[in-house]
Subunit: 332 residues, 2 copies
């Protein structure tokens, strides 16, 4: 079906190597030869088989894009940015959707069978050990949205969740709230743990502030709403730092359903600053996570690693910032 190098060579009356070289830039070919080959190729509609060449060059330009966050709206943007960014550099994303508890080894094996040049693990909920499995298998890996660390074992690009927790606490205190609560996502996620740490890190220095905490069982609207409805059965806090924006919207929904007003009765601060947070009928005050920078930086790191696979692991941490909207009362 498809035209091969050999056929082009025959048509152009040259050797197969000549054709190969005509399609490899930087190769030793005369202008004349290149034109002759290109003509034949064009007439035949030839385009080189990337996989066959990968066999000898050792490069497939395939990059595994591994994630388990196919329910969080911000990840649509993440995928958008990743696919575009990789494509722009001539790399091809091979998408891997981890079902809830996929064996890391299985993914690693699969991606090695396809000889990916590298893998990006894009997930805020996978344990650091997951990315490590790739590194151990000799696959260059970047863990995007992974846990920040001062002694990273693999390349990590993301935010400092502990600092986000602190930031949320400071923001709430500055606005005069005195009964604060942490309403986290799944307790098993490192992001939840870190935000918790940071949040109470600051609050512990404020004995006048009353605190409480609880966890929703997923980063989802329903989980947030359910948990908030439960909390509303007794006396709720004055303000909540929620696990993420989706959760926050569930929480908002629960609050308004029960007849209370935001921010008058209860304040909410989320995390992520997803597209919808900005929507006027949601108008969520939240902590902005610089997704674009994280993705861009991840890709740069990936590209760098393709040339230098044993690059010393680094953590690239990007600062977050509070985006003031309408779910927190203003500064006094």
């Amino acid at each position: 079906m498809a035209i091969t190098l050999k056929e082009v060579a025959e048509r152009a009356g040259v050797s197969r190597s000549a054709v190969s070289r005509a399609f490899t830039d930087g190769a030793s070919v005369s202008e004349k030869m290149r034109r002759k080959v290109e003509k034949a190729a064009r007439e035949l509609g030839y385009s080189p088989n990337a996989l066959a060449s990968s066999l000898t060059t050792g490069r497939t330009k395939l990059i595994g894009l591994v994630s388990n966050n196919f329910h969080n709206p911000i990840f649509l943007q993440v995928f958008d940015l990743f696919t575009r960014g990789l494509q722009d550099r001539g790399l091809r994303p091979l998408l891997v959707n981890l079902s809830d508890e996929t064996d890391p080894e299985a993914s690693v094996r699969m991606l090695r069978q396809y000889s990916v040049d590298g893998a990006v693990v894009a997930s805020s909920t996978l344990p650091p050990g997951f990315a490590r499995a790739f590194r151990d298998a000799g696959v260059p890996v970047v863990h995007s949205f992974g846990r920040s660390s001062s002694t990273p074992q693999v390349h990590v690009v993301g935010i400092d969740n502990v600092e986000c927790g602190r930031m949320a606490a400071r923001t709430l205190i500055a606005r005069g709230y005195r009964r604060l609560a942490f309403l986290g996502g799944p307790q098993s996620a490192t992001s939840t743990q870190d935000r918790y740490t940071g949040f109470f890190d600051v609050l512990n220095a404020h004995p006048e502030v009353e605190t409480s905490h609880s966890f929703a069982d997923a980063y989802s609207f329903d989980a947030g709403r359910r948990e908030m409805l439960r909390l509303l059965e007794t006396t709720p806090a004055e303000a909540y730092f929620c696990g993420d924006d989706v959760l926050s919207i569930g929480v908002l929904s629960a609050i308004t359903e029960s007849g209370l007003k935001v921010p008058d009765d209860i304040g909410i601060i989320g995390l992520n600053d997803m597209e919808m947070a900005r929507w006027q009928n949601i108008d969520l005050t939240t902590i902005h996570q610089p997704i674009r920078q994280i993705v861009t930086s991840s890709i740069e790191l990936m590209v760098a690693m393709l040339d230098e696979p044993d690059r010393y692991p680094e953590a690239r941490i990007f600062p977050c910032s509070v985006i003031e909207r309408g779910t927190l009362r203003p500064l006094p």
Copy 2:
């Protein structure tokens, strides 16, 4: 770096063919041989190179997943379902993100270079000709969320947008609205055109109903909000059929911002029934599009085509249904 067939063969003291056969099911190998090979393979940590084998078998198990809808939240679910579904069948999605006006030929060429076994074009906004380019290049293709047709030129799986338009019109009329408007997405999208056709198809039979129409310039919150704010400057209609759910939410936002109430003052019906439509603080009445079925069916069709590439093109159209929530007044 990676272990090859040859090394396993040497270690096991057998021929290379034997090793190859041990890893191909259905091949002629004795139980004894298989065990011997597997042992050696395990000790060496060998796993076969899928790309090398594709060279002779002609099958890569790679499927191009081509889309330009990286901003519509329902597509996150679409990608989730596609990647899972393909993975479950041992197929690997190679993701292609079409930047606004990518040349179909370029995508086709790229996917052919990677010898994909087939391609799924998942898009409600690409012209039918796009998918045809794949077919013409000999790549089995399914156009998911494509325009329904009684004489499809490529396999199409989706909904009947004309019928959706009719359904919206009937729904609004049944609820007693008498000044109706169509607030479509981009006029260039076939989905917009078809819904328009269906909508006015029904309304033309109702001379007592007053109608109007306009178009937002994207399927986005902002575009919907902007257009509705514009419409609110004069006398708005009693009810709007909006291009999709995201658009609808923008419209809702504009309406409440201007102090009117939904559904008391203005009724809204969307299309897609995305995750968020269900959220209690949005609670959008909308037309449900059976995404899961569309994806499942697309994958089945794709798998069928891998065995039978010249299968006669068919259109698989799934029925939609109105989901009653809170943005339309109830039936009288």
